[in-house]
């Protein structure tokens, strides 16, 4: 046994691996913070910042939803209730702050929203979480519909058809920081989104978070290791309600208006769509899904009124062919990337993507033309698709798109399996033959 190293040398030797560990554990978060802070300066178009604000809100909302679905195994059709109620409470608080009735700077509003969401989650969760599975889903649907219908009745709180408006410029400042322009709101949303993400991730690494996964996998077994499945679900539900309320508060600051629709079935359906598309089995899945969904919603809706139809098709495709979501598909390629065999996939994947693109172009063209024919006034004869003029009364655009769709489909029938085979080949543990 050699003599122990001198005291002075030991801390340095120990510090290097400790630094590496620290970097590995927190590096991702730091990188995210840097990227998020730099984004408004990178994306310079004026439309970018409002869309990014929307994305930030959606990310928090979707992550909160996945605390229920992916982490807890609870499928809720009424999660927007806590988002909306948090938003309404935040809007009312903002109005009170603007009148001077209470000291509440705008940056603290998401916290108020979160507490509001938490309060209602405690109230409704106490009855919802007694059962899991289909009964839970149906109760959540019932509560969602009830609240949406109530929004037209309780005018004082919900503002009836016009909703509740607020003005973030009237609230007191925190540390002299104004929250008026879109970019300033962006930094507020970015701060809260990062904070909420960190907190929700940390939650998943606590005993309660781990047992939520256990209860999802096997509630009976969880009971037999000493945990009440109902309590675990209830506490998860409350936490999810809190963060949904935070998202609602951010919404109130950003859009300065809340209506009953923010609590309704469409909003609850949207968060389910985006979370599932992103991938419920991975923490970062909902983040991906929220970004992609918001992008489609804001970008596509400028070009076509059929964007929800396309999203619906994407969603169904995900459920049928990629239930692990975008995050899952990316994770699937992790081993291939690490083994440096990703290069072999480029060719087959490009071919399949091209075939798919052609088929999609054909189908989209047909759908857009059908839509135009149905909606346009009787005399209209030509429309523009992505700038291209199309004479909808003539035969050639129809035949052309049909040809595109068929060609793409036929090509995909061959290119698709080839891409799948290439992936299987590249993923073989022993290496490609």
């Amino acid at each position: 046994m050699s003599a122990p190293a001198p005291a002075a040398a030991r801390p340095v030797a120990a510090a290097a691996p400790a630094r590496a560990r620290w970097l590995r554990r927190y590096g991702v978060w730091l990188a995210a913070a840097v990227v998020v802070a730099a984004l408004p300066h990178v994306a310079r178009t004026p439309a970018a910042v409002p869309v990014m604000n929307q994305m930030g809100i959606a990310v928090v909302f979707a992550l909160s939803y996945n605390m229920l679905l992916g982490q807890g195994g609870m499928l809720s059709f009424g999660h927007a209730v806590y988002f909306g109620l948090g938003g309404f409470i935040a809007a009312h608080a903002l109005n009170l702050a603007g009148r001077g009735a209470v000291y509440l700077p705008a940056p603290l509003l998401p916290l108020v929203g979160g507490l509001g969401g938490l309060a209602f989650a405690v109230l409704f969760g106490s009855v919802s979480t007694r059962r899991a599975g289909t009964v839970f889903a149906m109760i959540s649907l019932g509560i969602g519909e009830m609240m949406a219908a109530s929004s037209l009745i309780v005018d004082r709180f919900f503002g009836g058809e016009e909703g509740i408006t607020a003005n973030r410029a009237k609230a007191p400042l925190l540390l002299g920081l104004p929250v008026t322009t879109d970019q300033q709101v962006y930094y507020l949303i970015a701060f809260w989104a990062l904070l909420a993400t960190v907190l929700m991730y940390a939650f998943s690494r606590t005993p309660l978070g781990r047992m939520a996964n256990a209860v999802r996998d096997n509630p009976e077994r969880a009971e037999f290791v000493g945990y009440s499945a109902q309590w675990v679900r209830f506490l998860s539900f409350c936490a999810a309600g809190f963060f949904a309320g935070v998202a609602g508060g951010l919404f109130a600051v950003n859009y300065e208006i809340l209506t009953g629709a923010n609590m309704g079935a469409a909003a609850s359906g949207a968060v389910l769509l985006m979370t599932y598309i992103g991938g419920i089995g991975y923490f970062a899945g909902p983040i991906l899904g929220a970004i992609v969904f918001t992008f489609l919603q804001s970008m596509l809706s400028d070009y076509t009124s059929l964007w929800l139809l396309y999203v619906g098709v994407i969603f169904l495709a995900a459920v049928l062919f990629a239930p692990m979501g975008l995050a899952g598909v990316l994770a699937m390629h992790g081993p291939v990337w690490r083994a440096r065999r990703a290069g072999r996939l480029v060719g087959p994947y490009l071919a399949a993507a091209l075939a798919a693109l052609v088929a999609i172009a054909g189908v989209v063209g047909l759908l857009e033309m059908v839509h135009f024919v149905v909606v346009a006034p009787a005399g209209a004869a030509s429309m523009r698709l992505l700038g291209l003029p199309l004479a909808v009364r003539a035969a050639w655009p129809w035949l052309g798109f049909i040809a595109l769709a068929v060609t793409g489909a036929v090509a995909l029938r061959r290119a698709g399996p080839r891409a799948a085979a290439a992936f299987a080949e590249a993923s073989r543990p022993g290496g490609p033959r």
Binding site: F203, T206, P207, R210, A222, G226, L235
Partner: protein, 251 residues
């Protein structure tokens, strides 16, 4: 000496069908006991009654002297009783390591805490590693439990059961479906992890029963017809008749 588990005139009927027809049984603390009987006798039902999965129709159940009749499974577990299942009942999408760790969390006092970082909990980590070593599953710690082989899953099942340090262990057919060598390994494991504790197990493999058990209880048609040492059970004509039927009359 207070018995570890005591059943007092327990009856259980599902609808109008009586399954347990009056069982009075005392399992002495610190002993290893086996519950045997023909198929359909009600052994798993008895386990489910003791562990709180089903409520009794009548009668009382005591755990270490305390009346636990009608208590929920997690309440019974927190008082020091843990069970395994005949059909493997693990957390399929969690890793092997996580499966065992879930078994230790409550016993270490973490409860519903969302302010502790579970990865930094040294006591949970050490306890989990100890159990994994005992199960010979340390090398498979990151594998999702649903992917393990059948024998590995059965071992994990036992691991989750004993991880929390319960002193009354109920094992439901721990060696079912195993080969001879696998059975021997599991018997070794059971002997190791139940040292100093009370064990009650349902088993069909008689070699395991006679190898491990200090006393055997025989359940037939929902009633205990014998509760004695292995030698006396082996010699008992009542038990033989229950398994093999009454001797045929000739002539």
């Amino acid at each position: 000496m207070t018995p570890a588990v005591e059943l007092i005139d327990v009856h259980k009927a599902f609808g109008r069908t009586p399954i347990i027809r009056g069982v009075t049984l005392a399992v002495e603390a610190g002993t290893r006991q086996a519950l045997i009987g023909p198929n359909g006798a009600g052994k798993s039902t008895l386990f489910n009654l003791i562990t709180g999965k089903y409520p009794v129709s009548s009668g009382r159940i005591r755990l270490k002297g305390e009346d636990v009749t009608g208590r929920r499974p997690y309440e019974i577990n927190r008082r020091g009783l843990s069970r395994s299942f005949q059909v493997t009942n693990i957390f399929p999408w969690l890793s092997v390591y996580e499966n065992v760790r879930c078994g230790v969390l409550w016993s270490l006092g973490y409860r519903y805490s969302f302010w502790h970082r579970v990865d930094a909990a040294r006591d949970a980590h050490e306890r989990t590693e100890t159990v994994l070593e005992q199960l010979h599953l340390a090398a498979r710690r990151h594998v999702p439990a649903g992917v393990l082989s059948y024998a590995e899953q059965r071992a994990l099942e036992i691991g989750i059961t004993i991880a929390g340090g319960a002193d009354v262990i109920l094992l439901d057919e721990p060696t079912s479906g195993m080969s001879r060598s696998e059975t021997e390994q599991v018997v070794q494991l059971i002997r190791q992890v139940t040292a100093g504790k009370t064990l009650l197990m349902v088993e069909h493999d008689m070699s395991v029963v006679f190898d491990l058990a200090d006393r055997i209880a025989v359940l037939v048609y929902g009633q205990v017809i014998a509760h004695d040492t292995p030698e006396r059970i082996r010699a008992s004509t009542a038990v033989q008749e229950a398994y093999l039927g009454a001797p045929a009359r000739v002539g």
